[in-house]
């Protein structure tokens, strides 16, 4: 916990919340943690700058902002909502902030939820980067299979020879095999179009 608090130092936050008593409480709490705070109200249409936190009232006017903010890799989003408003509840499910606090505001809930929001946001980012890497691997796999089939057909060679050819080309040019395979597939498409 102490370590997490130390980590708030030098971070940036945008507070998109009316500057009422609750809005001021957020600003003061964040400043005490050493975070640079900027208040934006009325809310911006989109998140137009890099920030570590977005503390945002959840209501129809903030929806566009929240939607851009929860796209990856975005800030840690802490939503503030009225529990009795069915509209707010519906929005929470749609914009999926990383943590929420319900009005009336309990001051003791702010820091724990900031910690939670940041932890969840970072975890999501790591998982996203892992998925992106795995998808890239899948794409390469597919390209290599296609390129292999093209080589086997055009050169009348076997599977191991086709693999070796791609691997050697990749090594000679110092690029991943997926890149060479993509080039083979693309070139083949270009050449077969000319024939028509």
């Amino acid at each position: 916990m102490v370590a997490s608090l130390a980590n708030f130092h030098d971070l940036q936050a945008i507070v998109s919340h009316p500057r009422d008593a609750e809005g001021e409480l957020f600003i003061r709490t964040l400043q005490r943690l050493g975070t640079k705070v900027e208040c934006q109200w009325p809310p911006a249409e989109t998140l137009d700058r890099k920030t570590d936190f977005l503390i945002c009232s959840i209501e129809p006017t903030t929806r566009p902002l929240l939607e851009t903010a929860t796209a990856n890799p975005g800030p840690a989003v802490l939503g503030i909502l009225d529990a009795h408003s069915s509209e707010s509840l519906k929005l929470v499910g749609e914009v999926t902030p990383h943590a929420i606090i319900v009005r009336p505001l309990d001051p003791a809930a702010i820091v724990p939820n900031l910690v939670l929001a940041r932890s969840n946001a970072k975890y999501q980012q790591r998982q996203q980067s892992k998925i992106a890497k795995l998808e890239e691997t899948l794409r390469s796999y597919r390209k290599v299979e296609q390129a292999k089939a093209i080589l086997m057909h055009q050169r009348a060679i076997g599977e191991p020879e086709a693999y070796n050819f791609l691997r050697e080309q990749a090594m000679r040019r110092r690029v991943p095999v997926g890149v060479i395979a993509s080039a083979v597939v693309e070139l083949n498409e270009v050449l077969s179009e000319k024939k028509k």
């Binding site: 890497k133 390469s140 796999y141 290599v144």
Partner: protein
């Protein structure tokens, strides 16, 4: 924020089994880790701060691996951990490291097909050991393979890859058997009867830990000849050879990035330091070496990053190069795996491996075998 002039030590976690079925090899990884930490501290630490290991014994139990990993990353407030031998233990701790954003350094060969932003893999992927091994065995002994493994993830996955490599090269699998990690010598002796009936050209072993000795001993008792039908393995190192006896191991084949016998000045110095610290009769092996060089790479990255925060430290690790005992290696940026040397060794009568084939440089890891 902590002041930059602190002399507070860098605390790291160490998770290798000192008891249980795979302790025989994991203890050597612990020693490789300790040697590196002691050497770094003797040279003044990292940015004048000592590295202090927090060591637990997970006792070859996956539940304990997961529990201690969680304890290290939460209660102990540590983010960098060196550890794990079996794939099952790595799979058990992986979600813990991803959820809590830790950095696990894994110094063991494994079956590939994994990527985690929270793991640095410093052991061989299949393209760095299996491919070379299969080609050599097919060319020198014949196409009929009999697979014997310990019953957990690595042997089954490793054999699935082996089967595929063999299929591409017109080899065949004439037998496949898995025995419990705690299997008894009698079970291996019984299995030798089936080997006789199947008449293979090669036995491919993915047996690990203590049981490795039972397999090779059963082979010897059955009267087989390694010149005609050797046991080939990716895990039988100098440590297992010492356990079974050099007469029993003699003539069998292992593929690995490193053997104690690698004849470079860097390695000869490494072997001398290791024996001086742990005893003349203690051989080094591929797992010791990976456990050792990964700590050195960590320290190098830490010197530059000057923080244990994985998000900051990791970019300094990826792409970094190091003159390891096996030769110059590098951490591959894309895969978080390591460019390693590919070598084939044949056990001799002195408990060492004669290197019979080696790559001309470190081989890029291809953990998903995209190009194989």
């Amino acid at each position: 924020m902590r002041s930059k002039s602190t002399s507070e030590p860098w605390r790291v976690g160490v998770l290798f089994s000192q008891t249980g079925n795979t302790a025989v090899i994991e203890e050597t990884q612990l020693r490789g880790t300790m040697l590196a930490i002691e050497e770094i501290n003797a040279q003044g630490g990292v940015n004048k701060r000592e590295i202090v290991p927090v060591i637990y014994d997970p006792a070859s139990s996956c539940e304990k691996f997961a529990r201690y990993a969680d304890k290290l990353l939460t209660d102990d407030g540590i983010s960098t951990v060196f550890g794990c031998y079996t794939s099952s233990s790595r799979k058990a701790v992986l979600p813990v490291f991803e959820r809590r954003n830790g950095l696990l350094w894994y110094p063991t060969l494994y079956e590939g097909f994994e990527y985690s932003p929270n793991i640095i893999y410093t052991g061989a992927a299949p393209n760095q050991n299996s491919v070379e091994l299969v080609d050599f065995l097919l060319a020198n002994y014949g196409p009929r393979f009999y697979m014997i493994g310990s019953d957990y993830i690595y042997p089954r996955e490793s054999n699935r890859i082996m089967r595929e490599l063999l299929r591409q090269r017109n080899g065949e699998v004439v037998g496949e058997h898995y025995l419990d990690l705690g299997a008894r010598p009698s079970e291996f002796r019984l299995l030798m009867r089936d080997v006789v009936n199947s008449g293979p050209d090669v036995i491919f072993s993915t047996v690990v830990g203590q049981a490795t000795a039972y397999l090779y001993q059963a082979y010897t008792t059955a009267g087989f000849n390694p010149d005609v039908m050797p046991i080939a393995s990716l895990t039988t190192s100098e440590a297992e050879v010492k356990l079974m006896g050099s007469d029993v191991a003699c003539g069998h084949i292992t593929a690995a990035p490193y053997f104690e016998s690698v004849a470079t000045p860097d390695n000869q110095s490494f072997v001398r330091r290791y024996k001086k610290r742990f005893g003349e009769s203690e051989p080094t092996n591929l797992c010791v070496e990976a456990a050792y060089f990964q700590v050195r790479i960590f320290a190098k990255a830490l010197t530059e990053a000057n923080t244990m925060d994985p998000d900051i430290l990791r970019p300094f690790v990826l792409g970094s190069e190091f003159d390891a005992p096996q030769g110059r290696i590098a951490i591959d940026k894309e895969s978080s795996h390591t460019n390693l040397w590919s070598r084939l060794g044949r056990a001799n009568d002195r408990g060492q491996f004669d290197v019979i084939k080696e790559s001309s440089q470190a081989v890029k890891p291809d953990p998903y075998l995209v190009s194989h």
